[in-house]
């Protein structure tokens, strides 16, 4: 085998120009995978973090049963004693922010126009960190000292033509089912970048929401936790589960992974695009290597005849050429890794602007992550595709008639 490996390495460098062209093709293919894979991972990361930090937080806690049946009867599944829980949760490691929400919906009216809204009663101070990506574009954030304030999504504000300082009326049903109204004043307009959210959502202070829904002051629907880093989610979840068990609480936990639907949709979509790209590159590598090996074998027909005359068995000839394909694959992988990493860094450094993706209102700057798993995948693909692609030419080489091969000029 050492002999065949030596021959493979030396034969790879025999026709340098052809080898360089083949390696360039393989290198570009692998680099394409690395760059696109890195881009996709930066999108995953962006969507994940923006969903976590603008909406769902890392962990949400509800009364048990809320996730299943809360949609139909939201006020039957309320957490009763938020302040006590908050204190316990805030003492856990990695927890940065603990805040509570109370979702409700109804109609919002200026007096002239009326439309449906989805609202959340929030703790203004707690929500500051959770709205990192819902930027105030006009007016101010909610504040506890301004209990009648409301902030609107930019689409909703635009549809109404309202601006900070304008009055609105919110109509909703109380826990018991009675109609109730709340007079509010627009305090600010925010933009999250997600159109569906910006067109429908508004926020009011938690006490106001509790009042209009006729709830006790400790009653909330969900507790939202923001951690120092997304990677700590599982650890914190385990601690909370322990807490729930110890205190015998009637609560359930959801993490961002359960709640960030869009994140999973994006992963699904880009995952498939990435798979198609991988397939295209594989086909490219296979054809490139097949072509190179076929030419090499044709040129070396007499050598094949010679080594067979000297007693090399057919499988030795196969090994010789498959190893050569493998060596090409390894070199192509190295070329691809170098090129891919350089391109990824360069593109990130240049900072190319892209238009808003579907369902979003904000453009973004292209970032390419250098992801070890993607590098490994690109390298693996080069090596495996090149090795497999050389199998058939190698098999054909081993089938030559020795006498004819020796006569080959």
């Amino acid at each position: 085998m050492a002999l065949y490996a030596k021959l493979a390495v030396r034969n790879v460098f025999r026709n340098r120009r052809r080898t360089l062209i083949t390696l360039a093709a393989m290198g570009f293919g692998a680099a394409a995978i690395i760059v696109f894979g890195g881009f996709v991972h930066s999108i995953y990361f962006g969507v994940r973090e923006s969903t976590i930090r603008s909406q769902v937080g890392h962990i949400q806690i509800y009364r048990k049963g809320y996730s299943e049946k809360g949609n139909l009867a939201p006020y039957d599944y309320l957490i009763a004693d938020y302040p006590a829980l908050r204190e316990a949760l805030q003492r856990l490691p990695h927890v940065r922010t603990v805040t509570a929400r109370l979702g409700f919906s109804g109609l919002v009216s200026t007096g002239d126009t009326t439309t449906a809204f989805v609202g959340a009663g929030v703790v203004p101070e707690g929500e500051m960190n959770l709205s990192a990506l819902a930027v105030i574009v006009d007016g101010n954030e909610l504040a506890s000292r301004d209990p009648r304030g409301v902030t609107l999504g930019v689409g909703l504000a635009r549809a109404f033509g309202v601006k900070p300082g304008d009055d609105l009326t919110l109509l909703t049903t109380t826990k018991a089912g009675a109609i109730n109204a709340l007079a509010v004043k627009v305090r600010g307009v925010w933009e999250s970048g997600e159109k569906a959210y910006d067109d429908r959502f508004l926020r009011v202070g938690l006490p106001e929401a509790q009042r209009v829904l006729d709830l006790e002051s400790g009653e909330v629907q969900s507790i939202v936790l923001l951690l120092d880093a997304t990677d700590n989610t599982a650890a914190v979840r385990a601690r909370i589960e322990q807490l729930i068990r110890e205190r015998g609480l009637d609560l359930e936990i959801r993490t961002w992974d359960d709640l960030a639907l869009r994140y999973h949709q994006v992963r699904e979509l880009f995952g498939r695009i990435f798979a198609v790209l991988t397939l295209i590159v594989s086909v490219m590598v296979v054809f490139g290597i097949t072509n190179t090996m076929t030419m090499a074998i044709f040129e070396r027909t007499r050598e094949i005849g010679t080594v067979m005359a000297l007693g090399t068995r057919r499988r030795g000839v196969v090994a010789m050429f498959v190893l050569e394909g493998f060596v090409l694959g390894v070199l192509g992988a190295l070329a691809g890794l170098a090129l891919g990493v350089v391109l990824a860094k360069a593109i990130s450094a240049i900072g190319i602007q892209l238009p808003p993706p579907p369902g979003s209102t904000r453009g973004f700057t292209v970032q390419i992550f250098v992801v070890p798993a993607v590098l490994a995948q690109a390298a693996q693909l080069s090596i495996i595709a090149a090795t497999l692609a050389s199998l058939y030419p190698a098999w054909r080489a081993a089938r030559v008639n020795v006498v004819e091969a020796l006569r080959h000029v």
Binding site: A2, L7, R10
Partner: protein, 223 residues
């Protein structure tokens, strides 16, 4: 039995389209250990076919060939490859060294494909190169060697496995006459000093005259 090679009623017919071409027609002879045998004849007379059959590179249409008493026509391709590695050395008209390997590595090649020869491999390669007078060229690759030197490396490669028989198909045809004579003298001295059995083809009369025995072939028949 002292015969290295026994050729018994061997015929070889090729198909060219629908026509059968007889390359060899009922050829029989034998070669004893230590013989230096030349096969002579014009182009197309069947010299190369005969050498290919003895060399187990091809199989006869009928008849049998024995190498050291072992019948070869029924062997599988793999078994014939092993037989070639064990018992035969080849010297080609066009030298046929592997261009990416050095002279040393070319000579070493037959020992590497059959690991039974692993022991004292280096000493044997060195000795083979010494015998052909190219010990100082061991690190050179074929393109850096003259034709005569390449053919010497090829002879060292053929000898290194201590074969029962060395087959040489027109070993001097691609060399100038002086170099060709040197090569034949080298083969002859190896034959005399080390009792290496040689069967070679040629159409050069001066080389034929060196042979112990001359087999003349024309139109596929021995004369």
């Amino acid at each position: 039995m002292d015969d290295r090679v026994a050729v018994e009623h061997v015929s070889k017919t090729y198909r060219l389209g629908n026509v059968g071409v007889t390359a060899l027609d009922d050829v029989s002879f034998s070669v004893a250990t230590g013989e230096f045998v030349a096969i002579a004849g014009p182009s197309g007379s069947g010299k190369t076919t005969l050498l290919n059959l003895i060399g187990c590179l091809d199989t006869p249409t009928s008849g049998e060939i024995r190498i050291d008493g072992e019948a070869v026509s029924a062997l599988s391709a793999g078994a014939r490859a092993d037989l070639r590695a064990r018992k035969l050395g080849f010297v080609f008209q066009t030298f046929n060294l592997i261009p990416v390997l050095t002279a040393w590595e070319n000579v070493e090649y037959p020992l590497l494909i059959h690991p039974r020869e692993g022991r004292d491999r280096r000493a044997r390669v060195a000795a083979a190169l010494e015998q052909v007078g190219l010990r100082d060229r061991a690190r050179h690759r074929p393109p850096e060697l003259s034709g005569g030197q390449q053919q010497r490396v090829a002879i060292a490669r053929a000898l290194v496995g201590e074969p029962a028989l060395v087959l040489a198909d027109e070993p001097t045809a691609n060399l100038d006459s002086a170099t060709g004579r040197d090569i034949v003298e080298l083969m002859r001295s190896l034959n005399r000093e080390r009792r290496v059995t040689f069967v070679f083809s040629t159409h050069d009369p001066r080389i034929m005259s060196v042979a112990d025995r001359l087999l003349e072939i024309s139109d596929g028949r021995l004369r």
